[in-house]
């Protein structure tokens, strides 16, 4: 679960890391009022979960109230696209913060390295720019050290990293202290990624976190109730509906609705549909042991996306029983007015019973396939060539 910049900064403040003072605002009027309280110059920053906000026009400096109104007017409600075309991300709130007098821009982060099974601390004197580009063009400028999981991460250990990065002598202790606190954010808040870019040194030689990128482990949200609210930010309508129903759903750009059981099989289903020339509309993992009601919920979510023109069910029952899935399909097709063809592939536990239930129900517009590849081909055909009005029988 990714936090917005201001939510990350609130966590930093809680752990004693200096951040500029600021306020969050959802309307232009509120943003201007906040700017007047904070004073000028101030920064108006779009709060969206994507990098490259500055380049996209989502961060602007206001010298007076008039400028604050103009900038907030341009940013609130704008759509921001990521550097790789991700999005759009609609800006529904801005963070207004006091301007900073910047002497130097550094980079600092603490990230879970799954390969090494350790936290990785990184520091660079080259902050304020794309750190992946720094790592590529000038690898020596980004110091990377793993934190020993068997020893406490203290100021001395952090100071070694800071020394290696060659930061200004007078602020090394202060940056080392920030690094120790970032590690305590990881441990205390179950954060798996904490990135500060830039970590600035002000003209007064104070070390301040000017940005915050924080990812909280979704498995640990239960012990951070104050963060649970942050999880509700900026979701698309289908994803919000799916979450409410307890389904794992990710919206994609295509028109083939997908339901499979298990994350791996579902990802594989997306791949074979794409190989067959189709474009998946979503990822939906019905999970292990799916019951009939879950299928009704899943179909409700999938069909609420208007782009969907055909749906593929790819089920390999292990714990999941195919007869339960079949019952769910029959129930759902009675409850929901399904306007699009449904291709069903049922294999595994109780598949014969499941296939029998489907055959007996004689559902219009339902097509059975016996293999995963056959089902992918069929759904793609049905997507590009919508069935004639009289197409009714299942095969």
């Amino acid at each position: 679960m990714d936090l917005l910049e201001y939510q990350g900064k609130q966590l930093f403040a809680k752990h004693g890391i200096a951040v500029p003072s600021g306020e969050v605002a959802a309307t232009v009027d509120d943003a201007v009022a906040a700017a007047e309280r904070i004073g000028f110059p101030c920064a108006i920053k779009a709060q969206v979960l994507i990098g490259g906000r500055g380049k996209a026009g989502g961060i602007k400096i206001a010298q007076d109230a008039e400028e604050a109104r103009a900038h907030a007017g341009a940013i609130v409600g704008m759509d921001i696209f990521g550097p790789r075309g991700e999005g759009p991300f609609r800006v529904d709130r801005v963070w207004v913060e006091g301007g900073s007098d910047i002497a130097s821009e550094y980079y600092a982060s603490v990230i879970l390295d799954r390969g090494e099974k350790k936290l990785l601390a990184m520091v660079s004197a080259k902050g304020g720019m794309d750190i992946e580009a720094v790592a590529e063009e000038d690898p020596g400028a980004l110091v990377r050290r793993h934190i020993d999981p068997t020893r406490p991460f203290d100021a001395a250990a952090a100071r070694e990293i800071v020394d290696a990065a060659g930061l200004d002598e007078d602020v090394r202790d202060a940056v080392a202290e920030v690094l120790v606190k970032l590690a305590s954010v990881a441990a205390g808040e179950d954060a798996t990624l904490i990135e500060v870019n830039p970590l600035i040194v002000t003209a007064d030689r104070d070390v301040v976190a000017l940005d915050a990128k924080v990812t909280i482990d979704g498995n640990a949200v239960f012990r951070h109730e104050e963060l649970a609210e942050a999880a509700d930010t900026a979701e698309d309508p289908q994803e919000a509906m799916a979450k409410e129903k307890g389904l794992t759903y990710v919206k994609l750009d295509g028109n083939v609705g997908i339901l499979a059981n298990g994350a791996g099989l579902c990802m594989s289903t997306l791949d074979v549909v794409a190989q067959a020339g189709g474009a998946p509309a979503n990822f939906l993992d019905a999970g292990g042991g799916s019951k009939a009601e879950a299928i009704v919920d899943a179909l409700t979510v999938i069909t609420s996306d208007e782009k969907v023109t055909a749906i593929l069910f790819n089920i390999f029952g292990g714990i999941t029983r195919c007869d339960e899935i079949a019952k769910g399909i029959v129930t759902a097709s009675r409850q929901i007015d399904l306007q699009v063809p449904l291709v069903v592939r049922l294999d595994g536990t109780n598949s014969e019973e499941g296939l029998k239930i489907l055959a007996e129900a004689k559902l219009p517009n339902l097509h059975q396939e016996t293999t995963m590849l056959g089902a992918a081909k069929r759904v793609v055909e049905l997507t590009t060539n919508p069935p004639a009005a009289d197409a009714g029988a299942s095969e």
């Binding site: 099974k117 999981p149 298990g262 994350a263």
Partner: protein, 290 residues
């Protein structure tokens, strides 16, 4: 032979008195696994269909001779339960539980390493050695015994491939679900090493997915240490960057960890990578039969 579980396995199930734990524990026993004990704190002295229940895993080891522990307790209590198992004296801990906080697992991983205990999972379907023992939730009816060792991050995808191998008339020495979480006790490399040494295994099928760099590390390891043929499958080519898909581990950030990068890394080391589960099974059978 087979790996990790077999006829020598003496299983203790933490959470045996719970709904899921009893269902799967007894199912594993019905398959032929030697289920010697259950553990639920405060319920020592009871039994579940004749299986004695103890208060601690250590008691199950000393009283019932358990050497393998399966963890079926809810996520909030699972990391302490795995830690208890690591300290109890068992050789192997298989953690099925899904949703354990990752930084808890980080500590537990190093604890297991230090103690020299083999940890499989968490968030995994377990290990099946067809005809010998099943520890976990893998539906055994879709697998026959045979010369192919399978190691996989994903459950249902493994069932799909295993079933295609069975239909092609072959089978498996063992099937190991290592789990899709960011921190798992055993990676591809650990299992590949066991299959290399296992006399029953002639070929290895490795099933990966987007996220992390376990597949890339495995590619290096295969080139350096594995003499047996390896066939791979990777899921997640169509996953958009930055989106999380179900498994906590299945997340791509930036360019590393993509399905294409993993496929390229494996193919660069001579590992054949199937386009679909079906093609992967087909290649495995083809390589096996020369």
């Amino acid at each position: 032979m087979s790996i990790i579980v077999g006829s020598e396995t003496k299983l203790v199930v933490s959470g045996l008195t719970g709904r899921e734990g009893s269902f799967h524990g007894l199912r594993n026993r019905a398959y032929g696994t030697d289920l010697v004990a259950g553990v639920t704190p405060g319920k020592g002295g009871q039994d579940v269909e004749g299986v004695p229940v103890f208060d601690t895993i250590a008691e199950a080891v000393s009283e019932a001779g358990a050497n393998t522990s399966m963890i079926f307790v809810p996520a909030r209590f699972a990391a302490p339960a795995i830690n208890e198992a690591i300290e109890s004296g068992v050789e192997t801990v298989i953690a099925i539980t899904e949703g354990i906080p990752v930084l808890d697992m980080l500590k537990t991983y190093w604890k297991a390493k230090e103690a020299g205990v083999r940890l499989i999972g968490p968030n995994c379907p377990g290990v099946l050695s067809p005809g010998k023992a099943n520890v976990g939730i893998i539906p055994a009816q879709f697998f026959d015994s045979g010369p192919i060792g399978v190691v996989s991050k994903s459950g249902t995808l493994t069932y799909q491939i295993g079933n295609e191998l069975k239909q092609a008339g072959t089978g498996n020495s063992s099937i190991v679900g290592i789990g899709g979480d960011p921190i798992v006790g055993s990676d591809f490399i650990d299992i590949l090493e066991l299959y290399e040494a296992d006399t029953d295994t002639e070929l290895i099928v490795m099933v990966g997915e987007i996220g992390g760099d376990a597949e890339e590390r495995a590619a290096e390891f295969i080139a350096a240490e594995i003499s047996k043929p390896v066939v791979a499958y990777i899921a997640g080519f169509t996953a958009p960057p930055g989106k999380q898909m179900g498994h906590a581990g299945a997340i791509i950030s930036g360019s590393s960890g993509t399905a294409q990068a993993k496929k390229d890394a494996l193919e660069a080391k001579g590992v054949r990578v199937g386009e679909s589960p079906t093609e992967t099974a087909k290649i495995a059978v083809e390589v096996l039969r020369g």
